[in-house]
Symmetry: C2
Subunit: 201 residues, 2 copies
């Protein structure tokens, strides 16, 4: 199983370089492979570490008070990627239970997460390429988000999320590991925003 | 066929609101349905209009000289979306020919596009959810990008693009309409960047 993310951070300020560099320092990347270019930074490694690193990056940038957006293209099990020992983790161990069971486990994981005090608003799309179960899993995931308390509203092509950043990132993490198929390809297109002036209007 | 995009523009400057509002004015949205919230703007309509609007938005913001990124989640044929008469277009009319034929047509469309003089660097992922042909179409699309002269490099989970913005947006447009299946679900996760300081270093 190969899992990772291409992440980009967009602080809407003239001092964006410093906000990005400080936020990058907040990520614990000890267990991750990291590669950066002018468009995004690749993180490869276990899914727990991936989502913890993204949450730290987002929260550190959000605390500056600037309107800041994190975008991530997250993927596991892509048939075009080789397996990588760095990615080994719990997901490889088990088979998936029925949808209702996975939804309950996912909700429990979100509820168990300590809050951060940072508000996060965003949206994401879940893709299960190459699998005929695609829409069942997508609808099952949306049900889970409602139960977990981070569902904001349905949108075309994606689902809007809102809540404490710890709950939002854990919900994305659970969407990533508990839906689709255990060994199959799952991809997320994630956008998480902080301090938008549109919300203050 | 329902087609549209959730788009967001990220100008990395204290004056981001004005850059966004000016760029939005540059989009021709006469044939599009537009809905905005704090995270993204929905455009629904024919695919030619969608990509032309995104190109205008990007180029107008890029011309300010600020480091600016456009992100778009683009989708057609999603089984969760109702058909919409506003989206009718050439794609609905025809069946797909063999891959090599579609690649040649796509290359021709990119080459025929008048240049803008604006450089664009970015990356995108093509998803064909629910279809077993997923990876064949993805690899076929990457081959087309190489032939069209906008392929920059392979990356994990996505393909990096570079070139004149007109060629880059037309390549994305062609990827959207000529790959996957004619009536099936195709989604793009698109990031296009201008004026990155990383490229000036």
């Amino acid at each position: 199983m190969f899992s990772g993310a291409q992440i980009s951070l967009y602080p809407m300020t003239d001092g964006f370089v410093d906000v990005i560099l400080d936020a990058v320092k907040a990520m614990d990347t000890e267990k991750l492979r990291v590669e950066t270019d002018d468009v995004s930074t690749l993180l490869v490694g276990p899914h727990e570490e991936l989502f913890a690193a993204m949450q730290a990056l987002f929260e550190t940038a959000a605390k500056t008070g600037h309107h800041t957006v994190l975008h991530a293209t997250v993927s596991r099990g892509c048939p075009g990627e080789p397996d990588d020992p760095i990615c080994e983790g719990p997901l490889d161990a088990g088979l998936f239970g029925p949808l209702a069971e996975r939804q309950a486990e996912a909700v429990e994981s979100v509820k168990a997460k300590p809050t951060s005090g940072q508000r996060a608003d965003g949206q994401f799309s879940l893709y299960v390429p190459g699998a005929s179960i695609h829409m069942d899993e997508v609808y099952g995931c949306i049900d889970f988000l409602k139960q977990a308390g981070v569902f904001a509203k349905p949108k075309n092509f994606c689902t809007k999320l809102s809540g404490d950043s710890a709950a939002v990132f854990e919900a994305l993490h659970q969407a990533f590991v508990r839906f689709g198929t255990p060994a199959g390809h799952v991809a997320l297109d994630v956008t998480i925003s902080a301090n938008s002036p549109s919300l203050k209007a």
